[in-house]
Symmetry: C2
Subunit: 132 residues, 2 copies
């Protein structure tokens, strides 16, 4: 519950999401336009993204790479949403698919970290003067 919440919390500005996902602002906004993500807005109307949003964007990128178009991706996302609904309605200990979902999540997280650390020229500059 707390963990879910944490991942759903809108914290990141678009600039960070761009770096984490290697997507352009244009792309991110376009995917929002097509309802693949729905980032929150700050008072001043700035998009604020959650880690869940970042996950979704990474997946979008991947699916696009695989030649799937917006409509297809939307379908995939909708299916997953429904699946989640079913899952939570008849709550058992921990289903197979749930486990897989968790694993997938973990892997994406790992992926993010990898991106941020290895692929330099992006986040690297943020680790400059972190002194000492």
């Amino acid at each position: 519950m707390s963990r879910e919440f944490r991942r759903a919390m809108p914290l990141l500005p678009i600039s960070m999401v761009m770096q984490l996902t290697e997507l352009t602002a244009r792309q991110i906004r376009y995917y929002e336009e097509h309802k693949l993500i729905e980032p929150a807005r700050s008072e001043g109307n700035r998009r604020m993204f959650s880690l869940d949003d970042v996950d979704a964007l990474l997946e979008i990128r991947e699916l696009l790479d695989q030649g799937i178009n917006m409509a297809g991706i939307k379908k995939v996302f909708d299916m997953r949403k429904n699946n989640n609904y079913v899952k939570s309605s008849n709550k058992m200990a921990i289903s197979d698919s749930e486990l897989r979902s968790i694993l997938r999540e973990e892997m994406q997280q790992a992926q993010i970290m990898q991106k941020a650390s290895i692929r330099q020229g992006d986040l690297s500059r943020f680790f400059q003067a972190k002194g000492e």
Copy 2:
């Protein structure tokens, strides 16, 4: 290792940190000026904070509440830093103090979440149109 890294990653703009910690920008910058935190900088010179930074700020707030001044807090932080060094140098399974440190971290995390969820008028507005 990955978890540490994650918490050290500079992701948040100062506005989010203000909301998470209930500190003013002035305060946050002042603490930085006094080397209690050292947030990274974006290309455009904007401060980018990590979750570790947020933790530190929450602790600073608490210590100030307790009547401790900058110098005192700096001391506390330095002591912890040294302690961490000792800990990692003679690495055993998981020391007592490490466990406590982890627990403290967890509690602070919980504290953040509580802040963000319950104390509305702050983050609440970010959860508006997160539709459906």
